[in-house]
Homo-oligomer: 110 residues x 2
DNA sequence: GTCACCTGCAATAGATTGATTGCATGACGA
DNA sequence: TCGTCATGCAATCAATCTATTGCAGGTGAC
């Protein structure tokens, strides 16, 4: 892993095609070929996007005969959301303190 | 804007340098020059990262004389987290249904 | 066994991103 | 006014990412 889990999940979620794929898999697990039949990009491009999602832990492979179906993993997203939430909460607290200080005195001694 | 707000926030959060910057700004708002003095990358690189964060709505500019201080915006992160949470919840529900179906019968008729 | 289909790997081209250097502009302080 | 310091813009380079094509390997159907 080149980066922490949250960063990797965010990076994976930082692309609209991957959101689209994730949404489609959420409706119904599908193979890369099946996804390619409904999206304007090639199967290989989709395979690469899915690989990113797999590495981020957001989807899992499921073999069905010669077919590989991809299934989203809700828990991974929930976990990432939890950490983001914690970060947001921490910042909120600190930022509130900062804001109070800023309103009280714009510039104390340089 | 080239993409939706959530995607943009995720994309901005998909880089460790930007997390680092965000954390440092959370501790204490600073200028790009001040950040550059504490990070191993150039001021310009930091300025570009901060620009990404500003475009994502995660930080705001604050002029103080000839200095430009950057302040994180907790609300933006909270909002994004909220949407991610909604997505996660939706998927969780659907995925639970899928899982139940999968466990009951591996492959029903196509 | 053979055919068809789906997956997987490799190589490649184009676009985007991350980081750097150099210079110009603008504001504060002496 | 002049010097200093911080910001801002432009150009450039390297690395990464996205998407494509082509082909080899495997699995299931007949």
């Amino acid at each position: 892993m080149t980066s922490s889990a949250v960063v990797q999940v965010c990076s994976a979620l930082g692309d609209e095609n991957r959101w689209q794929i994730l949404r489609m898999l959420g409706e119904r697990p599908r193979s890369a070929s099946a996804l390619a039949a409904e999206l304007p990009i090639s199967r290989q491009a989709i395979a690469q996007h899915v690989e990113v999602l797999v590495r981020a832990g957001l989807v899992e492979r499921e073999r069905h005969g010669r077919e590989v179906r991809y299934v989203p993993v809700g828990a991974a997203l929930s976990a990432a959301v939890g950490q983001l939430q914690a970060a947001a909460a921490g910042w909120d607290r600190r930022l509130e303190a900062l804001r109070r200080r800023a309103e009280g005195s714009a510039e104390v001694s340089g």
